[in-house]
Assembly symmetry: C2
Homo-oligomer: 248 residues x 2
């Protein structure tokens, strides 16, 4: 992990850009925090520059709770090399949507599974590097989309102790099977009236998660209109699960 820049936000949060090999990322650390500081991995749909305003807002909320937060660019997004397979799948998806045809399992698999296959080990490598930093070392959370990445990571990475997942469309059938093996506490956010989202698929995935503690928090407001109180509830979830050594 190689830090490339550092700046201090007005609330005392330190924001550091880094690269991990070829992967760009950002780490936010609170002005004051317990040591070791728990860290939340901030998931997103790809495109750090576009997502930055929403990511920094989520990082500030985490910092206010005494948590560090970190994110990395997704494979094929931002300045990272594009994937021919994914580009072709995305073209097929757009063609199906434009023609009003069903989005087949084949398209979803080609669009999402290679992304998950590549992104999950990258998140794990990021976690290795983060936990090697001085001061970082508490329980780890994952927060955000892509929900298929969050699901795989929750199964594959035992250091992730709790996850806030954003329900979104296009979940491969294989991920529903993996969801049954998730056992960590989950807090799933669903925007009920999100036109671009397949609500039934989100409900099916929530049902599939094997976790004994799982909460579905569904709200109005459209894709990006998660209400403040839902953000507060997600923050309370991490407060319960990432403080006191992760004991809920």
């Amino acid at each position: 992990m190689h830090f490339t820049s550092e700046r201090h936000l007005d609330d005392g949060v330190v924001e550091r850009s880094f690269t991990l090999g070829e992967i760009p990322g950002i780490l936010w650390t609170p002005a004051s925090a317990p040591a070791p500081t728990p860290v939340i991995l901030l998931g997103h749909p790809g495109g750090l520059d576009t997502m930055y305003p929403r990511l920094v807002a989520r990082a500030r909320q985490s910092a206010a709770q005494g948590f560090a937060a970190a994110t990395v660019e997704l494979p094929g997004s931002g300045d990272r090399p594009r994937s021919a397979v994914t580009d072709e799948a995305r073209a097929d998806l757009r063609r199906a949507l434009a023609a009003g045809e069903p989005v087949t399992d084949d398209i979803v698999d080609r669009l999402v599974l290679p992304l998950v296959d590549q992104a999950v080990p990258e998140w794990q490598a990021t976690l290795d590097a983060l936990l090697a930093l001085p001061g970082i070392g508490g329980p780890v959370g994952y927060s955000g989309g892509v929900i298929s990445i969050g699901t795989r990571l929750a199964v594959a990475e035992p250091r992730v102790e709790a996850a806030v997942l954003f329900a979104g469309s296009f979940v491969p059938r294989a991920i529903y099977e993996e969801a049954r093996h998730v056992t960590i506490p989950l807090h799933v956010l669903l925007q009920w009236d999100d036109k671009g989202n397949d609500r039934q698929a989100a409900l099916d995935l929530f049902d599939a998660f094997g976790s004994r503690e799982k909460t579905l928090n569904a709200n109005m407001g459209g894709h990006t209109g998660v209400p403040q109180h839902a953000g507060d509830a997600a923050a309370a979830f991490f407060e319960r699960h990432l403080k006191r050594g992760g004991v809920s």
Copy 2:
């Protein structure tokens, strides 16, 4: 409203039993509260004596927030005269369930609609009496089951400004139509793994509510296993909507 007994709970909450005509009820008021004090109507499935431990726990939580809380016995429950129509519908329901037959709309209508028709004006009369008491007069909330009663009340009674509804089975078709006319903020609790509950019916009803602000909070734990954090989220909902004159 005629008070029949009064006792002081250890947290300073004053519990007063009353009768309103033939209807028994209980009023809990906080040790200290702003005047006028907002009041939450505590819904339940009927049977004040059986429900008392859970009702008093909810009333204590409301009191800790500075809210009064009140409940009345449902028509046909506890010591109130039974209804031949409802008893017959309940017998038909048990017969259908025992035989593994579908519960028809006819049975649900006969079981629930007369109860709603009678209970809603009784809640309104209770509210008239409560708001005539010295000190009570803030915004009004409704909390609990029967969800069909809560739905009708939310449409019929403009003094109810926000409602926490417990999703439960057996909602008449007519109530789904009424749900479209609900406009107040709603917080709907659903126990995802409640075997006695029709989950799809609960999701359909949540979808039908016309409210611009509505939250579905679904959790594991079975029928009576609402987790503490879900109770806290419901309390936070009333905090937002029943304080500061009900402005959210």
